[in-house]
């Protein structure tokens, strides 16, 4: 029974995934240039937020930027989005759609969920069917007529994700996307992000909790104190998924200890 | 050394010594002209706490009868203005000579007036070739009073019971204005004022004392006037301004008035070489009197300092209104021309009224300018304390009394 049940569950999951994967607009990774960052420096007054960062984000990969608070991950992400001007170095972002969700909510809190989706959808000329799919998969249809400013933390974050996803961006850049979400929603979102990556898009996630993305990450960049401690493909790291968080933390502690000495 | 050489050495040394001594003597004994005396400063002995100060270069004033008449008329009109609080020029020893053969007014070269408004405090400093005794005699004659001689701070002072006093500030032996025997600087007037002048003179001679001489705003206003043969400045008293309709409030913002009379021909104005000329220094023409046709114009400049720039504009408007009306009313072409040349300029918070005329025409010009004063609605200015208009002198005491009630009685 259990064997049959597990087999049937796996089959159902696979079948569901196949179905869901069919919904996601596809992109041929070979036709998309990567995002390249070379020698990036960013200074805010006397603080060096980024100090010589080299990173490449390939399409069709799930790329995690990990590091403790204040390590420069958000600054790096915002630089990739064009919201921060580098002090030095080169940032080459191909002319493709970029989608983003920030750590803080970034939508019109005086408009409804539906209004926000429509306004940003119009700006990006989104595909209506895909937008509806995003709405459904993120469970926002139950709050579509609610004023965005009145949403709970979780729904507010889902709205931001929806705004990012509905435009079918080639590269999706997310800053702590799972912050306020419940476990069920987290799983659903992780599935969605995985499907999105599988459809050929680049997914960049900035997080300090690598464990949540351990079974999906394709490329890992560890950032500490504005510098890259490690930049490697997941497959090149001989670390099990459940040890990935500990692995990165140890690298950071080593760097921190070395800095103190 | 040989004897010949010894002698030569001695002679040479003596010659050198003599030469050094001689050269030193030459250096020490200045056989050149003696250092010129410092220029006479008419206000040097004026005490600090006064409301008006004025100076008259009598030599220049008398040099031309037309100038004297024109100046006298103009000063007269000015002093008859309702709120004039300046020096009582017309009650001067120099301008209204007493009947005393020993006191020749033409021997006076400079007169300085100082005093306090609406108070008997006041005196004049007369630079003249007079003796103190002659001045005292003249006063005794006029006032029917006796004087007693006294000494104060090394200066001779003659006091009377009725008030006036005479002090000798410089008798020529102290290296005064003109080094010749006889008194050359007399202080004549109210006893307190004369005593203060003596104190100032004494302090000026004492290197360790600081003379309490004229300073502050009044000094500044006097210095701002042009260097003319008549110069004066006084503190304006707004409480003496009558209730003029519309313009009274503007006039009451006046704080200081300064005025000067100059002769508008190069060399005709001022004194040569910084010395004090006497009447004898004036050079008459061949027939003994200056040629009237060549009399230089007299330029009168009045500087009226007001509370602020806005009020200065208002005061200027009042003055210009008076000029405009006079110009309109007059049919005298020459007067009209002079009126058109009259200017009223505002510089910061000072209104400068500038007018010029021939000595003969000045009285006509000034009469008109001053006659077009606004009419008072009432004698007393509204909301102000009653003005003690007639002071101590009373009308007719020693000459015309201005409405300001200047109570400096002419002691002569």
């Amino acid at each position: 029974m259990t064997g049959n049940t597990s087999t049937s569950t796996e089959a159902t999951d696979a079948s569901d995934r196949d179905e869901r994967a069919l919904d996601v607009p596809r992109v041929d990774p070979a036709s998309v240039d990567p995002i390249r960052v070379t020698g990036l420096r960013k200074r805010y007054g006397t603080v060096m937020a980024l100090d010589g960062v080299d990173v490449t984000v390939e399409p069709g990969t799930f790329h995690c930027l990990v590091g403790p608070n204040g390590s420069g991950k958000t600054t790096l992400l915002r630089t990739l989005l064009g919201l921060v001007e580098p002090s030095a170095g080169e940032v080459v972002v191909p002319d493709v759609r970029l989608g983003t969700a920030f750590q803080r909510p970034s939508h019109y809190d005086q408009l409804t969920v539906a209004d926000n989706l429509e306004v940003f959808g119009a700006l990006a000329a989104v595909d209506g069917d895909w937008a509806a799919t995003v709405l459904d998969r993120l469970g926002l249809d139950v709050v579509r007529d609610r004023i965005a400013g009145e949403l709970s933390g979780g729904y507010s974050r889902k709205l931001d994700l929806a705004l990012a996803l509905q435009k079918a961006p080639v590269y999706l850049l997310l800053d702590e996307p799972l912050g306020d979400l419940d476990d069920v929603t987290k799983l659903r979102l992780l599935d969605l992000l995985g499907d999105y990556r599988d459809a050929g898009h680049g997914v960049v996630v900035s997080t300090h909790n690598l464990g949540q993305f351990a079974d999906r990450v394709d490329h890992l960049t560890v950032v500490y104190d504005g510098q890259v401690l490690l930049d490697a493909r997941r497959e090149d790291l001989d670390v099990p998924d459940d040890g990935l968080q500990e692995f990165y933390v140890e690298r950071v502690l080593e760097a921190a200890t070395g800095a103190e000495e | 050394m040989s004897p010949d050489r010894q002698a030569l050495a001695v002679a040479g040394t003596v010659a050198l010594l003599l030469g050094a001594l001689g050269g030193g003597a030459l250096y020490l004994i200045d056989e050149s002209e003696p250092d010129p005396l410092p220029p006479y400063e008419p206000t040097a002995n004026v005490p600090s706490d006064v409301d008006y100060v004025g100076t008259l270069n009598a030599t220049e004033y008398r040099s031309d009868p037309a100038v004297a008449n024109g100046t006298r008329a103009s000063l007269g009109f000015q002093s008859r203005v309702e709120f004039y609080s300046g020096p009582p020029f017309l009650r001067s020893l120099v301008l209204s000579p007493p009947a005393n053969a020993n006191l020749d007014p033409t021997n006076a070269s400079h007169v300085t007036y100082f005093g306090r408004s609406d108070s008997p405090y006041g005196a004049r400093l007369v630079a003249a070739n007079w003796t103190a005794e002659a001045a005292v005699d003249a006063l005794q004659e006029r006032r029917d009073t006796t004087f007693t001689r006294d000494d104060r701070d090394g200066y001779t002072v003659y006091r009377s019971e009725s008030g006036p006093a005479v002090a000798v500030l410089d008798d020529g032996t102290r290296g005064g204005p003109v080094p010749r025997p006889g008194p050359h600087l007399l202080a004549i007037g109210n006893a307190s004022a004369v005593a203060d002048a003596v104190t100032v003179a004494a302090d000026r001679r004492d290197p360790e004392a600081e003379a309490d001489t004229l300073d502050g705003e009044l000094r500044r206003r006097y210095s701002d006037t042009d260097e003319g043969y008549v110069r004066f400045a006084y503190r304006f008293r707004p409480e003496t301004v009558p209730d003029y309709a519309f313009v009274g409030s503007a006039v009451r913002t006046v704080e200081w008035v300064g005025s000067s009379y100059t002769r508008n021909r190069t060399g005709a104005a001022g004194t040569p070489g910084g010395t004090v000329p006497t009447a004898a220094a004036t050079t008459p023409t061949d027939d003994g009197a200056p040629d009237a046709a060549e009399s230089p114009d007299i330029r009168v400049r009045i500087r009226i300092t007001v509370e602020d720039a806005d009020s200065a504009d208002d005061v200027r408007n009042v003055l210009e209104a008076g000029r405009s009306f006079y110009l309109f009313q007059s049919s005298n072409a020459r007067l009209k021309a002079e009126l058109r040349e009259t200017s009223f300029d505002v510089m910061g918070r000072t209104v400068v009224a500038d007018y010029e005329s021939s000595p003969g025409g000045l009285r006509v010009l000034v009469r008109g300018l001053f006659q077009n004063q606004p009419e008072a609605e009432s004698l007393a200015p509204p909301g102000r304390e009653e003005v003690k208009r007639r002071g101590h002198g009373g009308p007719g005491a020693g000459g015309p009394v201005t409405a300001s009630g200047s109570a400096v009685r002419d002691p002569v």
């Binding site: 983003t100 909510p105 939508h107 940003f120 | 209104a321 009306f325 110009l327 309109f328």
Partner: protein, 355 residues
């Protein structure tokens, strides 16, 4: 004791808000106290008055009339009455008087002189009466000829309430620009990052300024409706007025937005905008004609573009003067609005660089 703790917390809060508190408790009160300097006269003493000297008038006749007016106004010489009347409509002068040509004629016993004022400049009606009285008394006191000075009102005598209608709308426009627009922008600060990714800050701000400028049509219509209902003869929909209000809002909105960005959406920026609002309210000559004020304040007002917008609005709404008559002034306000886009753009660039 909890009250002490709370008070202590307020002290801690104030330590972190020193700049803002300095602004509110020191600068703002000082500005208001200092502004008292600009209120010097109850009655205008040097409002400009046109004195027209015709061909038959001598220089002395002109001088006498001008001198009489100079005591309580500022006479300005004009050669033609038409030009003077035109400037009367534009509030460049507040009265027009023609010098009678027979003032110095000894055969003439009595001379009439008319002082014309604009009935729409309500605040000047009382002062003009005082001026006429002063001039009459002064001239009759000094001259032999009897001078009868009469005051004539051009157009209807407008009530103060209707005179103030366009002024109140301008106050609304300024408040909208300096108070509501920054508030609206601050409410959307969080979404600016997303907007910068999806479109551009330039597009967002341009859209906001354009939208709110267009939205002004609503209060404009409301004011106009109220004016009609109350029976005021005021046409707030006159093209000159619409342009005047619109350009004013654009210019001031640009300034307010620039301040908001420059201050990083902080409290200091909001307070500064309030200060700028008061400055514009105080120095645009909204209520009293500019001739009423002290020379210093008058000088400042004449350099403020919104003053000319207000003159245009008043001329258009109260006197039905066509907008073309105010082309120069409207052009100036438009240039001002364009010029204010420069600091706006610079502040936006600085904001983008600083995030």
């Amino acid at each position: 004791m909890s009250l002490r703790t709370i008070l202590g917390k307020e002290l801690r809060w104030s330590r972190h808000r020193v700049v803002a508190l300095l602004f509110v408790l020191v600068l703002l009160p000082a500005a208001f106290a200092g502004a008292s300097v600009f209120f010097q006269h109850v009655l205008p003493k040097d409002a400009p008055v046109a004195v027209v000297a015709g061909e038959d008038v001598s220089e002395e006749e002109y001088d006498v009339v001008a001198a009489s007016f100079r005591l309580f106004s500022k006479p300005v010489e004009y050669e033609s009455e038409a030009a003077a009347m035109r400037d009367l409509e534009r509030e460049s002068v507040y009265a027009v008087v023609s010098v009678p040509p027979d003032l110095d004629d000894p055969d003439v016993e009595r001379v009439n002189m008319t002082v014309t004022i604009d009935g729409d400049v309500t605040p000047y009606r009382e002062p003009s009466g005082a001026l006429v009285s002063i001039v009459a008394r002064t001239m009759n006191r000094q001259l032999d000829t009897r001078v009868v000075v009469q005051r004539e009102v051009r157009g209807d005598e407008r009530k103060l309430s209707s005179y103030l209608l366009p002024t109140f709308l301008m106050i609304i426009v300024l408040t909208f620009a300096f108070a509501y627009l920054p508030y609206n922008l601050a409410r959307e600060e969080a979404v600016l990052d997303r907007l910068r990714v999806e479109t551009s800050l330039d597009t967002v701000i341009a859209g906001k300024l354009a939208f709110f400028t267009g939205l002004l049509a609503v209060p404009l219509l409301v004011f106009h409706g109220v004016g009609v209902a109350l029976g005021y003869d005021v046409n707030l929909l006159a093209p000159g007025a619409v342009l005047g209000y619109g350009l004013t809002f654009l210019a001031c909105g640009a300034i307010a937005t620039a301040v908001t960005f420059a201050s990083g959406f902080g409290t200091t920026g909001r307070l500064f905008n309030v200060l700028v609002l008061f400055a514009f309210l105080g120095f645009s000559g909204l209520v009293y004609p500019v001739g009423f004020f002290s020379p210093l304040r008058r000088d400042i007002i004449r350099r403020v573009p919104t003053h000319y917008a207000m003159l245009t609005v008043r001329g258009s709404t109260l006197r039905d003067i066509p907008a073309a008559e105010f082309a120069t002034w409207l052009g100036g306000v438009a240039l001002f609005a364009l010029a204010m886009l420069v600091p706006l753009k610079l502040s936006m660039l600085a904001y983008e660089r600083g995030t």
